[in-house]
């Protein structure tokens, strides 16, 4: 069923290509991504004529190769996205399992924490956390991980509330299984489907948020190539006509997020039709 879904397959292909680009960045990039050359700053790419072919997508405001920076930036953005979501998945599973399985005051307490986190628009919360932690990629991962955890916790919790009441869990309990055994062997495998679906869609959101943080100067520390920061650096030169420096990093973000959204939608239809929006 999943294979017949054309858009999901398209998403999968986009993501696989991006992963390959991430792994092979040193071999794929035509130039050094951090080497400056001010004599060739803001030069157009190969569309402007043969003499520009050395830098296929042109150069940025410090004369660095735009294509190479985008290729290396794939590594930055994808790793921020995946690690941030990994953090949020672990946190969310922890909160969701504890709350959903044990219920009572633990549930009430944890869900109030989740409610508080929900009171902030996601980008605002990550900006606030970053303001406290200071700039840096690792800190951006942590901030975004925390921001995406509450949603994950709710997804897990609502799945567990249903599973917990099923007969086979009751049977397991009657056999004298420990809480740990029930959770690890019988509940977790069954909440995996919504967790996978939601994580995939979260990576898309996390990449967007990471780019936004980079754009605001709160993400990667220069000269690390990062799509959001590249956009923000090229902003002021857009008005002098150097459109390529801002256009291509943005297109890279769109492509990555689009791929993940398509893949996530496809996974949702295949694994967990009830979640369909």
């Amino acid at each position: 069923m999943f294979r017949k879904n054309k858009s999901a397959m398209a998403g999968l292909v986009i993501i696989l290509v991006m992963v390959v680009v991430t792994l092979c960045a040193p071999y794929l990039a035509p130039n050094n991504p951090i080497q400056r050359n001010l004599s060739i700053r803001l030069k157009p790419g190969s569309w402007a004529g043969k003499e520009y072919a050395k830098y296929p997508l042109g150069t940025d405001y410090l004369g660095r190769c735009l294509l190479s920076r985008i290729i290396w930036g794939t590594r930055t953005s994808l790793s921020v996205g995946f690690i941030a979501v990994l953090i949020s998945t672990v946190l969310g599973l922890l909160l969701g399992v504890l709350g959903g399985y044990f219920g009572k005051w633990i549930d009430t307490f944890l869900m109030r924490i989740v409610d508080v986190l929900f009171a902030f628009p996601s980008i605002l919360l990550s900006i606030a956390i970053m303001a406290a932690l200071g700039p840096g990629l690792e800190k951006a991962m942590i901030a975004i991980g925390i921001v995406y955890a509450p949603q994950m916790a709710r997804v897990v919790r609502s799945a567990i509330l249903v599973i917990k009441e099923m007969d086979y869990i009751e049977a397991e309990r009657a056999l004298g299984a420990s809480h740990f055994r029930i959770i690890w062997y019988h509940i977790l495998p069954n909440v995996l489907a919504p967790v996978i679906v939601y994580s995939t869609l979260s990576v898309a959101g996390a990449i967007l948020d990471a780019a936004a943080l980079g754009f605001l100067g709160l993400g990667a520390i220069p000269p690390t190539p990062e799509w959001g920061a590249m956009l923000s650096n090229s902003r002021q030169f857009l008005m002098s006509g150097a459109w390529w420096a801002a256009t291509f990093p943005g297109l890279a973000i769109v492509l990555a997020v689009l791929g993940l959204n398509l893949l996530g939608d496809g996974l949702r239809d295949a694994l967990d039709p009830r979640l369909r929006m």
Partner: protein, 274 residues
């Protein structure tokens, strides 16, 4: 440290958010000074998103699998995958620089006089019947408003389509059609009314996205609102200002969520909180 927090909280209850380190003026005053700009921008963006989004969603649902359906859903898919700041930059480049038909920064031309009553420039110019200012501030609103409204629009269009498709297939719609009601009435009076609940939920949720997006949009378009204030405060490490604006935006978000919840009960009497 908890004593510090207690002191901060005590003055918060009195409505005192402290003074900004950068400008030495009270944070609350600065927030209120900038809030109308954000309000105007978000309001414009939300109207754009709701009108275009629901219309596109309804037409796509009625003509499922048509050319219009495919195009608008493709546009919507790109819409939800786009970073708002990139869209803003591209709009700026295309309409501001290349075609040179729309202003790209600020709320109004400096040369145009406008009496400040509410801080909402559109309302101010209407009240003082200053048509020149009205036109000019409206022009300034278009690019940031469209940039900010596009993502919520895409989400609203998708949800409207799927919600309408679900309702249209139900029996009572067939009954209405069999009764010979005009199609327009069936769609707008009966189908839309029942499809509205998920749409309202999403609109409420999108408001948070909108407030977040406003932070980025205002930075790009030099819009003197709350979002830009927050970013400037973060960059200047102006902690009282950061705390104040984050708190203010979050409270705003909570109020909007509350309004959404109340709207539910109004739209569907079956939903009530226990």
């Amino acid at each position: 440290m908890y004593i510090q927090y207690f002191i901060w909280f005590k003055s918060l209850v009195r409505g005192d958010l402290g003074r900004s380190i950068a400008t030495h003026s009270p944070v609350l005053e600065e927030i209120f000074h900038r809030f109308p700009a954000t309000l105007e921008l978000s309001f414009f963006a939300m109207i754009f998103a709701i009108v275009v989004g629901t219309m596109a969603g309804i037409i796509s649902a009625i003509r499922q699998y048509s050319f219009f359906d495919y195009t608008s859903m493709t546009v919507a898919l790109f819409g939800i995958s786009m970073p708002v700041f990139w869209l803003g930059l591209m709009l700026m480049f295309i309409f501001g620089l290349w075609l040179n038909i729309l202003p790209i920064s600020g709320r109004i031309d400096v040369a145009i006089p406008l009496k400040n009553l509410t801080g909402l420039y559109l309302l101010d110019s209407l009240l003082t019947m200053n048509w020149q200012a009205l036109g000019n501030s409206l022009l300034h609103l278009i690019l940031p408003g469209v940039a900010l409204g596009t993502i919520p629009m895409a989400i609203i269009a998708r949800i409207t389509r799927s919600s309408m498709l679900e309702v249209i297939r139900q029996d009572f719609i067939r009954t209405e059609r069999a009764k010979g009601l005009p199609e327009k009435k069936v769609i707008f009076r009966h189908a839309l009314k029942n499809a509205l609940i998920p749409i309202v939920t999403v609109i409420g949720m999108e408001f948070g996205l909108l407030l977040g997006g406003a932070i980025l949009t205002e930075t790009i378009f030099a819009w003197p609102g709350l979002g830009r204030y927050t970013v400037d405060a973060v960059n200047a490490r102006d902690y009282p200002a950061i705390q104040g604006s984050v708190l203010f935006i979050a409270s705003l978000f909570v109020v909007v969520n509350l309004i959404t919840d109340v709207l539910y009960a109004f739209l569907n009497p079956r939903i009530r909180y226990h």
